[in-house]
Structure formats: C-alpha cells, structure tokens
C-alpha cells in the first residue's frame, strides 16, 4: 500500500542511526512515559489540566520556567558532548561522534539555549512578576498569553522531536545559506530548525505586544512611567525590540523555507539568489535579539541591587535613558557580525563605531549599580551574589566585545573561539546569571517559601569558577587560530590541553546546575520551615512584595495607589511614621476563566510545523483550518471572564492573610 500521500517523506530511515542519537531518543521517550505514568499513579490529570489551561500569568510564568529549565539540561548535555568531542578528537582520533552528529549538536545547543532557555526564562520571569510589580491583576491579554506559551512550547517540542525522527539541522544556530539550502542539506533537519523557530517566534511576537500593552495600560493608578520599577522599564524597551525585530526573523526564515519548499531563489548561490541578503537580515534580527535577552537581566539586577543594598537605585533617570540608548543603538550595529564579508572600509568603520558606542550606556549602568551599593547596607544573599558574579564576568565579556567592534581586530578573531568565548561571556555572565538572580529573588513570591541559601551560594561559586575555567581557555584558543564548530583538529601544540581544561570547566558548571537542582529539592523538602509568612522576605521595595506569598490568584485584593517610586518601600516608611492608613474597601473584580483553546492552538501549530517538515500537506491543511476555527470559536465566546464579588474577595483576602501570617 502506498502511504506517501499520508507520510510525505517520512520513512523508517528517519529513525536515529547512531548509537548516541538512539540513546538520546530512547531516554527522551522513556522520560516522557515516566511522566505519564506518574500522572496516572498520583491521579494528577485534572490538576495538570487546570495548569495547562490556566490564563493566570503567574501559572503561565511557572510553565515557561519549567520548560526552560528542562531545556537548559538538554543544552547542557549538548555542551558536555561538544566539550568531550573536542577534548578527544585531536590528531588521528575522530573522537566520540561523527562529524554530522557533532554539527547537529552544535546547532541544537545554540538554538535551544537561545530560543528555549534564555527566551523561556525571560518570558517566564516577566509573566511571574511584571503584573505584580505594576499593581495589575493580570497581563493585558491573558488568552493571547496562553497562546504565546503554547506556541513557544510547540517550537520546543519540534526542536526535540528531531532527536527521534530525522535529525536536526547541521547548519549552525543561525543556519547560513547556501549550506542550509536544498542543494547542500535536503533532509528534514534544517526544516525542523526553521519551523521550531518560526512557531516559537510568532509566540514571542505576541508576547512582546502583550507585555507592551500591559505596561502602557495596566499600571496601578498613580504609577506614572517614571515611577515604574526599572524592571518594568527594561521590559518596555525589550518588547519594543521584540516588536521591531521578530517580524524580520519571521520574514527571513519564511523566505528560506520558500527556497526549500518551492524552489525559489532568495538565498541560493544561483538563480539570482544572494546569501549575503540572508546574513544581513538574520543579524538585523539577531543583534537586537541579544539585547532582548540581556535588557530584562539588567532590569532584574536593578531591582536586586537596590533591594539588597536597602537603598534607592542610583541614577534612575540615567538608567532609563541608558536603556533607550541601548535599544536604539542595537538596531544599527548588525553588520559587525560580518565585517569579513567585504562591505568596505567606511561601512565597517561606521558599524564598528556604533557598536563601541553601546559600551557607554552599558558602562554607565554598571557604575550606577555599583554606586547603588555605596552607603547602603549590602546583604550578600544569593541574588546579590549573582549580581557580583555578573559584574565580574560581564565586564570581561563587554570588553572583549569592544575589542571585536574594531573592524581590523575582528578580521583576526572573527569566527574563532575568541568570538565563541565572547558571546558566552555576555550571555552566561549577563543573561543567565541575571535570570538566576531573578529566580532566587522571586521564588518565594511564587511558591511561598524561600530557596536554600547555602546551596544557592555554592551554586554561584561553582558557576563562576566553572565559567572561568571553561571559557578563558577559549579566548586563548581563538588567539591560537582555532575556529568554531570543529569536530576534530590537528594539534599544532597546546590546543588539546586547553580543550581538556575547558571540558573540566563545563563539568564544574554542570556541578553548579546540579547544586541548583539540589537546592530546589532541599527547599521543597523544608518548605514548611522555609515558609515566607510575611510576603516580604527580602525587605523589598516594589509592589509584588506587598501581597502575601504565594501571590493570590487575583494578585491584589485592593488595587494599590502609587505616589512614589519604590511604592512598597514608601508604604512601609509611611507605616513607620505612623501615618494613617486607609481602610480597605473591597470591590468586585473580573478574572479570566481557564481556556483550553491556547493548548489546542498549540496542537494545530504542531500539525502545521510537522506537516511542513515532512511534506505531509494534508496535516498542514488540517492545522491551518484548526487554528482558524479556534480563533473563531474564541472570538464568538462572550463569557471568557468570571466575577469575583466584593464579599467573596474580602473573605478570600482575610483568609489568605490569616493563613500566611
């Protein structure tokens, strides 16, 4: 029987052929089955369904973080494989894996770490705290928020399904054509990469719009823009970047997939296509993307430093202007990713200079944070230690970035491990350390108990030592002439030793990640003892600390009124001064009902992506129709909210405060 119409180009050959990918696939399937079995055993299906269909930003935030943390373990496993391969594959040895596998692992590591770890943690943290910080009940569009999450999750699933069926793209995390064109990579790997990113990218764009509107429209009365916490400012500029940058990604990948599916010639070598256009476009998105990740981390540090120094953030106005400066500049520097493409001396100089100018507002921010500690009372809790680790690593990363912004220096280190060391320096030292600080900082607000301090501190030390041991040798290797993405090499002296040292570094980082998992387990174990009864475990400054921990599903029983920056700190000061407090007046509120449509849209999006990857056109059609039907169904539903009456709310609030006091 001919099943081509149904299966497209999917055949049994798509199953993993190599031992390592087979192992990965089996492991993934087994852990999936284990989760299903556990759900049956503990009879948690209904509980899970309530989570998956929730429109509460806090729950969606937790789901983002869970996905991102699981993906971080996958990305870390990829990193360990890369390091093991490069530590061994010198001279005649070809190491552990075939070159095709290594290239897939390289591409998967980059793709997963950026799109599903860093982006996931970012959206997770925004969902968890942004509405609370603004004194809002939820994001502007709770349903869109759920759709965003599910599109993100489907992108993640597609990227991982490739492990079981067909393999991933070997074309690097940004998939430069013509290597990623049909002429050189006809298999499904590149398509997995494209559609994982396309679907997750649409989710990111929707999130960007959602959070921007939330900030502009849902702030508590009295909270003018210049009274917002700096984290909210950092999200505001981030969402602007998302809204301007992500459509470029969508269009670029769209053209690449038209090349692949319909034999068009946007980026092919022949037929009038031009790969240089792709490289321009992908970086016109790719450079702002770096700031999409790092600006929220800057926002987190702005909150953490002020809170743990028990002091106002130094130079609030400058910090806001610095954010806008970085946002604007980040759109006019993209060419520095290909100084070696031959654009000409003047063009290179222009983009080099705009790049180094970004260092000015960034440097100013670092000085402002450090001077926030000046004449403060600095407590070295885990989030503050992450801040210290951040300043130490990020400064090195920033400086190596400035070095490479000089075009004539870049000519010598571009695409070498020096570059690899640089971007890990800013992304781990800036983005990931920032998100870890945020997770430790806001954890009690979400779950109602604090994380173990001792283990948290140990994990900081392991990460920073591991980071130095893993990445400083890569700077040296880059200067020794080692290029990126090598699956084996001939050692002219010293290469292998440094690769082994770097491998040890990644093991230390893995130890740090292990300590974090242990920290979580121990904290859950001791959750009764670690309960945060005050709602304000760090002597916080912003509104999220004014509600009990864990934050109730309605966020604020009474909408707060804001008169100053650091609104909650000012409230506490007013109480200390024995100013008269207003009596609470409860009013009925509207809250979004759970909705399964986001999840269903995700399912149909999976059909579209999977169908396009394997050329199962009926599945694509089914997915498209399904998404349209979902939109119509949702739009025709007028009862998407329910009312919580004033008396009920009062009852909840009092009960809540009693329980958690």
């Amino acid at each position: 029987m001919n099943l081509d119409w149904a299966l497209g180009r999917l055949t049994l050959d798509a199953l993993p052929q190599e031992l390592v990918t087979q192992g990965g696939a089996v492991l993934m399937i087994l852990s999936g089955l284990a989760v299903v079995a556990a759900l049956f055993y503990f009879k948690r299906w209904r509980w899970l369904w309530r989570w998956l269909t929730s429109l509460d930003a806090k729950k969606i935030g937790v789901m983002y973080v869970v996905v991102a943390v699981i993906m971080m373990l996958r990305g870390l496993a990829d990193a360990l494989m890369i390091r093991a391969q490069q530590a061994l594959a010198a001279g005649d040895s070809t190491g552990l894996f075939s070159s095709d596998t290594v290239q897939q692992v390289f591409s998967a590591h980059g793709t997963i770490m950026i799109f599903f770890v860093a982006m996931g943690l970012m959206f997770g943290l925004i969902n968890l705290v942004l509405p609370l910080m603004l004194g809002a009940r939820d994001v502007a569009f709770p349903f869109v928020n759920s759709v965003s999450f599910w599109l993100f999750a489907v992108g993640m699933v597609l990227a991982n399904v490739s492990l079981v069926l067909g393999g991933f793209s070997p074309g690097g995390w940004l998939g430069y054509p013509p290597l990623t064109e049909m002429a050189y990579n006809p298999g499904p790997g590149v398509d997995y990469w494209i559609w994982a990113l396309q679907i997750a990218g649409v989710g990111s764009l929707l999130s960007g719009i959602n959070f921007l509107v939330t900030i502009l429209k849902k702030r508590a009365p009295g909270m003018t823009l210049m009274k917002m916490p700096l984290f909210a400012w950092s999200i505001l500029v981030t969402t602007l970047l998302i809204i301007f940058a992500f459509p470029i990604l969508t269009a670029t990948l769209g053209m690449l997939s038209l090349d692949r599916l319909m034999d068009m010639h946007f980026f092919t070598s022949d037929g009038g296509g031009n790969p240089m256009m792709y490289i321009n476009l992908i970086w016109a998105w790719g450079h702002p993307e770096v700031y999409i990740l790092v600006l929220p981390a800057f926002g987190i540090f702005s909150e953490v430093v002020a809170t743990f120094s028990r002091k106002k953030l130094f130079g609030y106005g400058t910090m806001v202007w610095a954010l806008f400066g970085i946002t604007f500049l980040s759109f006019i520097v993209w060419l520095h990713h290909f100084f070696t493409m031959g654009a000409g001396a003047n063009v290179n100089a222009f983009f080099g200079i705009t790049t180094m100018i970004i260092a000015i507002p960034t440097g100013v921010k670092i000085f402002n944070w450090i001077f926030t500690m000046y004449r403060g009372r600095v407590r070295f809790s885990v989030p503050m230690l992450w801040f210290m680790a951040f300043v130490i690593t990020f400064t090195i990363g920033g400086v190596s970035g400035v070095l490479m912004s000089v075009p004539a220096i870049d000519f010598q280190v571009h695409n070498s491990l020096f570059l690899v060391a640089h971007f890990h320096n800013v992304i781990i030292g800036g983005v990931i350390f920032g998100f870890f600080a945020g997770l430790n900082y806001w954890f009690p607000k979400v779950f109602g108990f604090t994380l173990h301090e001792g283990l948290g501190k140990l994990s900081v030390y392991a990460w920073i030592v591991g980071f130095m041991v893993a990445f400083l040798p890569l700077y040296a290797l880059g200067l020794m002439g080692v290029t990126r993405r090598l699956d084996h090499y001939t050692d002219p002296g010293g290469w292998q030793v440094l690769f082994i040292v770097a491998g040890v570094g990644v093991l230390i980082i893995a130890l740090g990640a292990g300590l974090q998992i242990l920290q979580l387990i121990v904290s859950i174990w001791q959750r009764k003892k670690r309960r945060d009864t005050t709602g304000d475990p760090w002597d916080g400054r912003t509104l999220e600390w004014s509600v009990p921990s864990p934050a109730p599903f309605y966020n604020f029983a009474i909408t707060p009124k804001v008169t100053e920056r650091d609104a909650f700190w000012e409230q506490k000061e007013a109480i200390k001064r024995h100013e008269k407090q207003e009596k609470p007046k409860y009013q009925s509120i509207m809250l979004p009902k759970n909705s399964s449509i986001g999840l269903i849209v995700g399912g149909f999006a999976f059909c579209i992506g999977f169908g396009l990857i394997w050329h199962m056109w009926w599945l694509v059609a089914l997915g498209l129709v399904g998404v349209i039907v979902c939109v119509i169904v949702r739009c025709s539903n007028d009862t998407v909210e329910y009312e919580l009456s004033a008396t009920e709310l009062e009852k909840f609030d009092k009960q809540y405060r009693r329980q958690h006091a």
Partner: protein, 312 residues
C-alpha cells in the same frame, strides 16, 4: 589570621595559575599574538592597544565593586547609611565622560585602521605582487596561480616578503579564508569574487583555517601557507608547470565533488580562465538542458563578464 589566610590563599592560587599559564603560552604558538606578516603585526599592536585602553574601565569597576561590597556589608554598622541618596550630577558626568573619551579615541583608531587594514587595499611594496585565486570547495581549498600557470590544493606556496593579492570565491557553501599568523580573514562566497592582501615577513609554514562551517568535512579543510625564498618558489613553479596534470574544467569538476584531500596536490593550469568560469557558474540562469551549448557559445563572453565582476 584567618581572614588574612582567606585573602592570601586565593592570591597564591591565582599567582600560580598565572605563572603556569605564562610558561604554557611561551611553549605554544599563539598565532594572533605571534605575527609572521605585516598585516597580522599591525593587528596585534591594535589588539594590545585596545586591551590596554579597556583596562582603564575594568580596573576601577573591579576595585569599586570589591571595595563597596566590603565597606558597605550589612554587618559593618560603622559605615555611613544613606538610603535615599540616589543622585549625583558630578559622579554621573564622570562615568558618562570617561567612557565617552575612551570610545572617541578608539573610534578614531577604528576608522583609521579599517581603512589601513582593509582587506581590499593592496599593500605598499616595491616587490611585484603574486596573484593567487582561491576557491573554497567541499572540503578543500584550491589555489590557482594565473601568472605562474600552476594550481595547488590545500597547500599555498608563496614567496616571502612579497605582497600576495588573493581573489576568493567558493564553489560550495560559503567559507572563510584565514591564516592567523599572516592576518585578516575573508569570506569566500560563490558567484562573487572578494579580495584579501597578505604578506609573509620570512619563510616558514603557517597554518590556515577555514572559518565558516560548510558541511560534513569542514574540519578537514585546514591548509598550509608555505612561505619560501623567491628561488624556492620559482623552483616549485618550474617543477610543477608542465610536469603535473593539467587542470581544466573537466578535471576541476572532478576535484570539486564533495570529499576531503589528505595530501597537497599540484596541477599545471590548463585553462587560464578557470577562476572566472567558477565565479560565472552561479551568475548564469540555473543549469538547464542547453548547458553544453551555452558553454561553447559564451566562453569568451563569460570570461569578459568575469573580469568586469571582479572590479565590482
């Protein structure tokens, strides 16, 4: 005593690591910092200058961070505490101003050097340059010497102290040509020809890297630049020309098939227009049935177009 140990022990550890690192890096070739050519030499100076400049920021940041962290730690009740102090015009002017000055200096340097070290700019020299046409293939490098009428795979012999004018293209996914000891990298892309100018100060073998992923055998695309005396170079040309196999389009198509090459291969150049033809392959409409007819009719036309393109 205990606190003193806490500070001294890490310092000793760092000192030992630094000493070990110093000894280690003396024994290996850090190509970018150990230049063998004019361009790489200038780039090293530039790198060291920019690094020194950046220390003006790194050192105060680290010192302030450590000092404030220690001085204003929670347990130190002697230190001043001013929870509402959050603005100071002069401090802010200082840390906007100093980075602005540093970046202004670096910007001038960046502008000048991107002209001076522009890959497209021919080197100033009295010696007549040697032209080499470089083709990135899956997965080997082809070096064509149009004047000497020879070609070579994965080994690029050049005379020392002589400007080498490289034209680069690719007949495979894009790649990048990089000889760290001699300086500067350049992308090689199909359907177009870019330029790079290098010069080796003395004789020696220098490792070349292929710096952009181009498929499965990419890691095997390492090549060697062999800088020789003029006599040795001429001797190599003479030994190769007329004796080695003639490289024409047919043999080239065979060579261009995906695969790696272990040992360098030398050819006599049998088709003077080979490089132009390789570039022009991608400038024509997609291969069709009339390909053979096309090739015959437009041979002279192709070559002409190719030259024009190079000037672009």
């Amino acid at each position: 005593m205990k606190t003193a140990l806490k500070i001294i022990l890490p310092l000793i550890l760092i000192g030992m690591l630094a000493a070990g690192g110093f000894v280690f890096f003396q024994s290996v070739d850090v190509a970018v910092l150990n230049p063998q050519g004019e361009i790489a030499d200038k780039q090293r100076t530039l790198l060291l200058f920019a690094s020194a400049l950046s220390l003006i920021i790194i050192i105060p940041v680290y010192m302030l961070l450590v000092f404030f962290a220690w001085r204003y730690r929670d347990s130190n009740k002697k230190a001043a505490y001013r929870p509402n102090w959050a603005n100071n015009k002069w401090l802010e002017i200082t840390w906007w101003g100093i980075p602005c000055i540093l970046i202004a200096i670096l910007a001038v340097v960046a502008y000048r050097t991107s002209h001076e070290l522009d890959q497209f700019r021919p080197l100033d020299s009295d010696v007549k340059p040697v032209e080499v046409q470089v083709v990135a293939l899956q997965w080997k490098w082809l070096f064509i010497y149009p004047e000497q009428q020879v070609a070579s795979v994965n080994l690029m012999p050049v005379p020392e102290k002589t400007p080498i004018n490289l034209s680069l293209t690719s007949d495979a996914p894009m790649n990048a040509f990089w000889v760290p000891s001699l300086g500067s990298q350049m992308y090689a892309m199909s359907g177009m020809s870019s330029k790079l100018h290098i010069l080796a100060n003395h004789t020696g073998d220098f490792n070349g890297s292929s710096a952009n992923i181009s498929g499965e055998g990419f890691a095997d695309m390492a090549f060697t630049v062999r800088s020789q005396t003029r006599e040795d170079f001429d001797a190599w040309v003479d030994a190769t020309r007329g004796h080695a196999e003639g490289l024409d389009m047919t043999l080239y198509e065979e060579l261009a098939k995906p695969g790696t090459v272990d040992q360098p291969v030398f050819y006599t150049l049998a088709d003077a227009q080979l490089y132009d033809k390789i570039v022009m392959k991608y400038m024509m409409p997609p291969a069709s049935d009339e390909k053979s007819e096309d090739e015959q009719d437009h041979e002279s036309h192709d070559a002409h177009m190719g030259h024009e393109m190079e000037g672009m």
